[in-house]
């Protein structure tokens, strides 16, 4: 039916996430099994747009052998802007999207597998809509906040890294009778902080979905002190904010670089030390959460998504991505997936479990 599809391209966009290579691995082998040829575009769309040698590379079984276990992406990525808004050397901003799609067609590609988050998938959707780019998506974000899928790869590895960090700081906090504030990723959604906070037995977990009251946090720390537990572990998502001072407005689907936040971990640590008198230290886990070998779960999910993307191409379901619904992968329109972000639902049993565990959520 779709015999015409023979040459597929793959790119990776946005922030690094453990599992990107596994998607590439599976997509290349699944394509090869169908007699197709696979190519990689370097650095998002730059490999096509810049037209340099090596910007597009052929991918085969030998190249992808063993990459499933390795973090990062062999294709490179970028989170600088979009083909709709390219900044030229003289500073002017131009739309190169049409040129991009022409180059794509000139290279003889029949389909693109765009692996990316909210921003990258929005760009892919726009290229599909406006210029008819035959694209399928693979959802990617360590933040786990994409609509249309129950889980994104990279998230599990990030949560394990964060939990491991909490395991590490707890013995030091305990030995020194300190408060330790650990800032984790999560600008709009608190998935990493919530999951790692529970798994790592934190005392306080602050997420963007629940604006917090620092007085309540400090009360909790002092209550523990009074009860004989002389240390506390506070987890704060980078997008968490004090009640009445929300820092970020949720406007997903916008490509390009987002503003860097101001360091909620530092703010919370300083306030706790001042208000409670307890020695307090902060740790910003930052980029550690993006790197490293993917966990087994992330590898498997990423492999499944890579193979599913090839099946979406096979059945001509362009403009869709594969999403995990329960135990099954289903096609999800990119339009639906990029509509807004998937926040932690406040009626989730995970929130309820946190309260049952006595964790202070700042409210």
């Amino acid at each position: 039916m779709h015999q015409a599809v023979k040459r597929i391209a793959i790119n990776t966009g946005g922030g690094d996430a453990p599992g990107l290579n596994a998607v590439i691995h599976a997509a290349v082998l699944a394509a090869q099994r169908r007699g197709w040829k696979a190519y990689g575009i370097r650095d998002g769309y730059d490999g096509l747009l810049k037209g340099e040698e090596g910007g597009v590379i052929p991918l085969d079984a030998e190249i992808v052998a063993g990459i499933t276990a390795i973090g990062g992406t062999i294709l490179g990525t970028t989170n600088r802007g979009s083909p709709f808004q390219c900044t030229l050397a003289d500073g002017t901003v131009v739309d190169r999207s049409e040129e991009l799609v022409e180059r794509f067609r000139a290279a003889g590609f029949d389909a693109l597998i765009a692996i990316g988050g909210d921003g990258s998938l929005s760009i892919a959707l726009e290229l599909h809509r406006r210029h008819g780019l035959p694209v399928v998506g693979v959802p990617k974000t360590i933040d786990n906040d994409l609509l249309g899928t129950d889980l994104t790869f990279g998230f599990d590895t990030a949560v394990n890294t964060a939990t491991d960090a909490l395991d590490k700081v707890v013995t030091t906090a305990q030995s020194h009778h300190r408060v330790m504030v650990v800032e984790l990723m999560g600008r709009y959604a608190g998935w990493i902080a919530l999951h790692a906070g529970l798994a790592g037995s934190a005392d306080v977990v602050l997420i963007p979905e629940i604006p917090f009251d620092l007085d309540l946090v400090c009360q909790r720390i002092l209550a523990q002190e009074a009860g004989g537990k002389h240390y506390s572990i506070v987890v704060a998502a980078e997008g968490a904010s004090p009640r009445g001072q929300q820092l970020l407005t949720l406007e997903p689907g916008r490509s390009g670089r987002q503003p860097r936040l101001g360091g909620i971990g530092r703010l919370v640590a300083r306030e706790i030390e001042q208000r409670t008198g307890k020695e307090t230290r902060e740790l910003v886990l930052g980029h550690l959460q993006r790197g490293g070998q993917p966990s087994a779960l992330d590898r498997l999910l990423a492999l499944r998504l890579g193979a599913a993307a090839v099946r979406l191409i096979e059945t001509g379901q362009f403009g869709h991505m594969a999403g995990l619904h329960g135990q099954r992968l289903v096609p999800v329109p990119l339009e639906e997936a990029t509509r807004t972000l998937r926040l932690v639902p406040l009626d989730s049993d995970i929130i309820e479990t946190a309260r049952d565990l006595g964790i202070c959520l700042g409210d």
Copy 2:
């Protein structure tokens, strides 16, 4: 409504699984939050039946502090028989189930949280049915083969341990141009072997659901050799069997000790070495898969289940366990959960992904 419920007991049965302590942790804190008292029964039901001092211990926040990160169970477990079939010193077998429930009532308990697998939950169900024991279940098996839940805690840790082992042996197999056969757990269901096999980039994955043909396996190994890849990784679930020689008959819901299998890893390794002439080594991962610190995912799932079990008690849903359906925990009748085992569905996209990756499944 259920104000009468004040004293709850918790026990753990069957094989060890990372996350047992997290269930206990959450159940105790969730009970405490409701003003209830929690107790632990040691070693399955032995702590009640033997009537020794320390057989039943009070559990509180201090005792469970920090145990979420620790493997094993602070209550001990046992997989020797059932209260319906107790072996006395003189070898006779008697039914002590009625006595057990009497002791349970005499101790003033209002409810039992039974954490266990297929065998232990079947016993719990029988105690509920025949003697009216007010029991709720928490599903547990590292094999992930329980009906009524999409995922069991301990499984993710086991898969990570197995994947880590595959990562380790691959470099040695590669350096020595060897075939390495790794035997993983899974008597009836191949979940661990399938997930770890994909995540660990195995060349061959043998699971109980797909009887295998050794000639096909050897053909695959020789084809790789001819193609210049001088090593192969073969993963075999302990219950995998050659076509026509199925070793185990699926009769779940039976408590007590199951027959030990004959070492499929050794058999497969020997046959491969003989038929292909390739140096072949085997590794039986065995109990390593049951131990160690639970992964973040297993901790979280176990914490959620512990809290959910308390909510089942609160709402009087005895004879049920909490099961994960997609992202939600739902009450599942123990009767349904123990009806049979949950095998890998052959139409799963994971099987399809394995084939897309070129993994030989022996068929």
Copy 3:
């Protein structure tokens, strides 16, 4: 000969280090084997000085079972001041050292095992000299900069944690074509940065022993860029400083809290971004390096030291600590061990290896 020695006390002072519990474990069991009784003093000397209940606790085999594998110290620690300079509630500073030794004797102790770094061992030496406290030392610092021993426990775990972090950030740096600056511990000595920098394949390693020239660092990064390697990993010990701007003066042997440094990682990252135009990120590993399960090497070294401390008591070698010389543990006078710090020798073959690997040391 020393039959009179029957009751020994143990304390831990200064910063947390993985392996403290292993020292306690071995010391308690070695004491017990000799028919002695062991006690733990909480929070450095506070447990004795404050005179609160639970300030001194009996230690036995049951209490120490399993603690070797756990980070932190079951006794608590403190790095606030010294018994020679206690700050009272009204802010005045008094010498309570004599009172401390009196309380020690009143408790019937025959010897103290003081586990600590440069600061804590200096205090112990002073108590021994001035007041005749029968003390033996166990060297401890994750910085590995103590004189009198080839290696201190905690260091290997810290280096593994730092190397793991470098492994994690490298794939992200590579995928994003970034410069990543990782700040590691090491105020006076660059052991952690040097070892982890080599093990983690850093491009630039900045240590306190070699004042650096940022122009050379930037040249190196640009040279790599020109050569087609579009990312760089820069490791900086917290005490590293630009040539001509040394931040810290080496005055070891001083107890109490040391000044917090100004964030060399941030400074280096900012300068590199400005001078090279490359996107640069920083990561401060901080307290992660102090925590977590000790590595096998640290556990073994700590166990050996704990047992050796008991032998020092047995043979009456007070005022000494056990130090590792090659493969043997030898008694080292505390006076010698606290004279100054052990810096990385510039003629070490490790420095030479770094240069052979093409690592830029900033000079």
Copy 4:
């Protein structure tokens, strides 16, 4: 002085060990820094002897980039026989050592870096002696039993893997009240078993250097049982043997494949179960100990040795290897290094520490 040396070859022989790639990495970069060219011989000496294309490959900075963190060897290895005793297709055994050295010279090589253990270094020495091969050695064995160096790379990783396995099985043994017997590597020397046994808090450690009495082992297990500790961890080196039944005779310096041992773990487990009546399980860690990412310590040691080997070539010290003496690397004649194996000295403080910890050594 040694300007003539321009082309060096590197090979790896014998069993896999984490750190081999780090040696290659450092040797290649150190050679390049001197303006030399480096080449790799595949699969021990096979790459030269077989004369196939690709048997000798040029090595440069790009090829070795990033390999320090990866287990195995990019050159392949072999433990099948020696060039002095090559088995031909028809089964006859011939000496091809002279031919080998001729090919080496014909390829224009000025020096060989032979990375290997007792067997491979003996071969290298023989080639040097008989045929004047300009060879320098790098000591390698995960067993840590080479003379002439305090430590071999790969050992630390193996001990960490073994300790991690002990950490994992202990919670299961505890939960199930079982005896767990873990068989570790070590045919002649018990270094891995001793270090991991202490670090992993084993109850019994059996090493080749101390023939054991099973009755004493069982007494110990029953005594623990009586004392309320219902599980035991027994560590056995593969070469450990019951008193009066020593299985292996120490004849080091012999190349080629050694006899496979009979499974001491299985024997010990069976005997313990029979004699004590305690449920007992065995785990053979096997090849897991050879694989995986090298620890930071092994990476550093291997890097230092690779660079040191190049310095040995530079100064013309052929017939030597670099050995670690205390903190320094020194040249060691291969003759001395291969004279016999380095066993655990029975007067080591590590043995004494084991006894202080109450560990049963079977004597």
